[in-house]
Every structure is written in structure tokens, then in C-alpha cells.
Amino acid sequence: MSKKIIRKISPMAQQAVDHYIEQSLLLNAAFTNDKVIAGRQRAQAIFAQQAFPVSRDEDWKYTKLTGFVQNRFESLSQHSVKLDDLHAFLPPYAVTKVVFVDGWFSEELSDDLSGLPKGVSFESTRDVFEVPGATDQLFRHEDIINKTPFGILNSLLMADGYYLQISANTVLETPIFVLYVQSQANQMATVRNHVVLEENAEMTLVEQFVSLSADESFKGCTNVVTEMDIAKSARMKQILVQQQNHSSYYFNNQFIFQADQSTFNTFYTGLGSLISRHQNHLFMDGEHIENRQNSACLGRGQQTMDSRTNTQHNQVWGKSQQLHKYVLDDSAVGVFNGMIRVDRLAQKTDGQMDNKNLLLSTKAKVDCKPQLEIYADDVKCSHGSATGQINQDQIFYLQARGIRRSKAIEMITQSF
């Protein structure tokens, strides 16, 4: 394996690169599917050259990985999680539960998925790997995925995930609830998901990321890539809650491909992790597409919360709406980067992006970069960003009515 690095990186980062390539080789030794092995090998070649981004890279200027590269997370693991450990994380409404532990699908912790309604199929990515010929679809968007650093890392260490398909005209009433559990320290959970909604299908997906320990020494990393193909007139609703412990790392790249008249709604809530970065890459490849991408991040301590979107309007009459909010306390850092690109074919585009931030301390900060790139002439696009300190007059007004200062701050923050 040649390890020629084009760019200059620190010895520490070089060791990390070597470590993850070694992990990838270990995985390849444990898997049999040639295509999967070849996919990891392609990623090894790219990763060996590109390594991890550094703060000189514009896209990583505010989300610093210097601490991250000091870790040597491992991919292969065995866990001993019991269903009882998970009760606190289960939603109070009816769902079909799917559990991943340290990145690996757990059949015994998940609901019986053979009982899913007709027209809904769920397979673990690992099982898909075992089916020769079924893996081509996993590499369909490989070029796009491997343009992002953690997409490359995902391709490098790709091990499990899910493949979910909803047949044409099927409406899945009960949400699929995917729980990603970090059960042991020092694990790299690499998850590769693929969701296919066929024509006029509909579903709700709820994804939650948790750690079983809040201990500071309990560090883990979750790195997800999810591809979604949303066919004509299909409707997808997604809610993500990221509440890993405050020592861990979270990276999620979602690649969404929408066809004519489809809708996609996603809401990301960022609460946990030392460094988290959630990104939607949204391709509006048909007419009359609608989507909403919202996020809310609450950061404190030393957390970095990075949420970004790249929305590509490629056809006429597309409508995209976005609202991204950050509330940051202590020394937390918020990073927002949103791009709306309107192709010259995408006339009548309606694209709106808003970013609002509330800083609760003088040390908290947010770096925001809303961007528009418009090549069509008949469009309606707007972006805005506003950052404010908590208003002292509002606090005093509530206090003057007998409400304690801490409660007043809580009320004002909640209203935001």
C-alpha cells in the first residue's frame, strides 16, 4: 500500500491515517464480497492521499479535528448490550425499532422486522454484502460520497447499516425508529444506509444517536452516510436526534436524490458530542419538488456543533425551505454553512434559508456562512442569518415579575 500524502500533515494525523487504513484492511480480511472489498480498497487509495482535513481547508476552518486525530478508534467489536439498557431511549409512541450497537445491526435488540407491512423491506447492509450482485447499488453514488472527507472514511470502514425499501404506493404508517448506541469506548461506528422510496411511497424515519456512558473517558465516534432515493411523488419525513455523550464524535453525511413532485422533510437536533457535523447534500433532480431542512443545535461546554446543507435546485418549480437555529452557552462553537445552488434550468425556484443564533455566554461563538449561487433568472431566493445575545431587558422584565433569573433565561431560550 503506497502512502504518499499529497498534503503536509502532522505526524499525529499520519499515524491516524495509517491506523484507519489498517482497520480497513482488517475489515477486508473479515469480509468475502469482492465488490465490497474493492470499494474499501478504492477508499484506501483516496484516503492515503487526502488524509484528514485541516483547518487550512475552508470547509473545516471552524470545525477542528486536531483532537479527533489523536484517537485510534476501532471498527471490529463485540458488545453485550441488553434490551433493558435501552429503555430510557425508546420513544413513547408506536414505532418499529431497529438497533445498531457500535455501528453493527443487532437483530436481537431490534423488533422482528419480518413483520413489517407488505411493500416494506429492511435488510442490514452487512446482509446485503453477502448477496452477490446486490451490492452494485451501494456504489452508485460512490464518487459523490468520496468527495467528502468523512464520506471517504465511511467508504474505508464501511461495515454495516441498513437498506430500506418502500414499494410504490405503500404508505408506512408506523415510523421506523433507528437507535444507534455507543456501548463501548474507543469504537468507530461506521454506518452506511440506503433508503429507497418508490413512486408515491411514504414513510417517517426517526434516528437517534446515544451513548451508554456519560463518562468523560468514554469516547466514541459515529460516522454515518445515508443515501436516499425519493422517487416521483414519494414523501419522506425524517427526524434525527443526536445526543451522544460530550466526549464523542458524530459525523453524518446524507445524500438525498429527489424526483418529480416528491417531498422531503428533515429535522436534525444536535445536543451531544464534543464535535458533531451533520450535513445534507440534497439533489433536486425533478420538477415541483419540495423540501424542508431544519435543525436545532444546543451547545455548551467545549462542544462544536456543525450543521450544513448543500441544496441543488436542478429543475423548475422547486421549493426548498430551511431554518437552522443554534443556542450556545459556555465556550461552545456553532458552525452553520448553507449553500443553495440554482441551476440555469431551475426557473421558478423558491429557496429560503434562515439561520438564527442565540449566544448565552460571551465565550460562545458561531460562524455562519449562508450562500446562494444562482444561474437562473426567474427565481425567488433568500437567505438570512442573525446572531444575538440574550436580551437583558427581557430577563429583567421577567425578574421584575418575580421569576428567578435562571428560570427567566430558560423561558427566553425555550421561546427562541
Binding site: F396, Y397, L398, Q399, A400, R401, G402, M411, I412, S415
Partner: protein
């Protein structure tokens, strides 16, 4: 004695505003504090309510047997001091209902009373809304958002009615009100007058006082009370303006 202010001195940004102010308010009394712009009227109201922009440099304030200056603004409010704001603050996203229910239950906890749940609170608030002739949707709306100047002031009076304080300080509540709104606000205040509730009405103009008819009138000038009297002092001011009284005060010194 409900409130006893002695030799109160306060400054903001190193600038001395109150220069030894004395004031005594007994239960049930209505005091008006008048004075020209810059005399320190709003400073007095703010210092009594506990706004921390102001630094008290000397003096004492006794409120119902307690050292008021030692208390945080919310403690003062829970113990029965109420400030009606010159500019009531807008708080988008916080409903009047949540705001007032939280506030009222804070005051009730202080008095050893159990909190009111949503339904009891609704009932309690409904009476006050009718009493003050307010809009029915008042509780559902965000605090002061989209309210006219008059509505904001009336919302403050409504809050006063809910919290039933011992001492109400009205900081230029009449500023920016047209004659109808002024009448409504004054009516609200008169409705809340009682033998165990005192008022300090801070104002620049006499027109609110014509409605309220205070028991005592004080003229504040240059950080001190330079003249006190009964309601007749309002008429004297109407006739001679602040200048006459100030000149006499300065000659006397």
C-alpha cells in the same frame, strides 16, 4: 411603614443621579413623584425595582421590614413590589399565560400557597381580564408582541392585578398614551387601589394624576425631593411650572 427610603444615592456609568433622596410610604397611600426630565424619576423607579445598571452608593431602603437593596429583583417582586414599566418589553414566543402563571406561582410559593394549575389559573385570570376590560385573547398572545403602546401599558396593569402586590411603582406609565388609553390605564389603577396597597406614580405630566388623585405629591429635582405636598401641589405646578418651585428651592439653599 411600608417603604422607607433614606438618603438614597445612586449612579450610572459614574454619573451621580440620586443625591440623597428621602421618601416614606405607608400602606394604602398613593404618592406621585413629578419632576422635569433628567431629575432622576426613572432612576428611582429602577433602583427600587433592582435594575443592576444602577449602582447604589449610599442610603438605605426598608421595604416591609426588609433591606430592599439586598434583594434580587425577582425576590423583591415575590415580596410584593411591582414595577410598571415605562417601556414594557416584548418577548416573542413566551405566552402571556405561561409568563403570568410562572410569575403568580412564584409569588404564591413565597406566601406559602399552593401553585395554581392551568385551569385554576385560567379562572383566576379571567376575572381580572373582565375587571380591567381587556381583550379575551390576551393570555394566548406572546408577551407584548404586536401590542400597541396602550395595550402594553394595560398588560402591565393586568399583571399588577394578577400578582396583587403591596407596592406598585408606575414608571411614566402615562407616557405615549392618547387620552382614551390614559383613561383606561388610570381606571385600571383606580380599580386596584385598596387600603393595603400603596402606589408610587412617577410622571412628568399632571394629566394622569387628575384621574388618580394621589394623596401626596413630591417634586424631584436634581436627585432630591425638593418639595412635598398634597394634591394641590399638582395645581401649583400646573400654574407655575417646575421652574418656579426649582427657583425657590435654589434660593433657599
Amino acid at each position: 411603614m411600608l417603604l422607607k427610603v433614606e438618603n438614597l444615592q445612586a449612579q450610572i456609568d459614574e454619573k451621580q443621579i440620586l443625591k440623597g433622596l428621602n421618601l416614606e410610604v405607608k400602606a394604602g397611600e398613593v404618592h406621585a413623584i413629578m419632576g422635569p426630565n433628567g431629575a432622576g424619576k426613572s432612576t428611582l423607579a429602577s433602583v427600587l425595582a433592582g435594575r443592576d445598571d444602577y449602582e447604589v452608593t449610599a442610603g438605605t431602603v426598608d421595604f416591609d421590614g426588609e433591606d430592599l437593596l439586598e434583594l434580587a429583583p425577582d425576590e423583591r417582586a415575590r415580596k410584593g413590589l411591582f414595577l410598571a414599566f415605562q417601556y414594557p418589553v416584548e418577548i416573542p414566543g413566551v405566552s402571556n399565560k405561561l409568563f403570568m402563571q410562572t410569575a403568580l406561582n412564584g409569588v404564591r410559593a413565597e406566601q406559602g400557597l399552593p401553585p395554581l394549575d392551568m385551569f385554576d389559573f385560567d379562572e383566576y385570570a379571567k376575572d381580572k381580564i373582565e375587571l380591567l376590560n381587556m381583550r379575551d385573547d390576551l393570555l394566548e398572545r406572546s408577551v407584548n408582541v404586536g401590542f400597541s403602546g396602550g395595550e402594553k401599558k394595560r398588560n402591565d396593569i393586568f399583571q399588577m392585578a394578577l400578582l396583587a402586590p403591596k407596592l406598585c411603582i408606575l414608571d411614566e406609565t402615562d407616557s405615549g398614551l392618547d387620552i382614551d388609553a390614559l383613561g383606561l390605564v388610570a381606571n385600571g389603577i383606580n380599580t386596584l387601589r385598596s387600603p393595603d396597597r400603596s402606589f408610587i406614580v412617577v410622571t412628568h405630566y399632571q394629566r394622569l394624576l387628575n384621574y388618580i388623585k394621589p394623596d401626596y405629591v413630591h417634586v424631584l429635582y436634581d436627585g432630591q425631593i425638593v418639595k412635598s405636598g398634597g394634591f394641590e401641589l399638582v395645581h401649583e405646578l400646573e400654574e407655575f411650572g417646575y421652574d418656579g418651585i426649582i427657583q425657590k428651592h435654589e434660593q433657599a439653599q
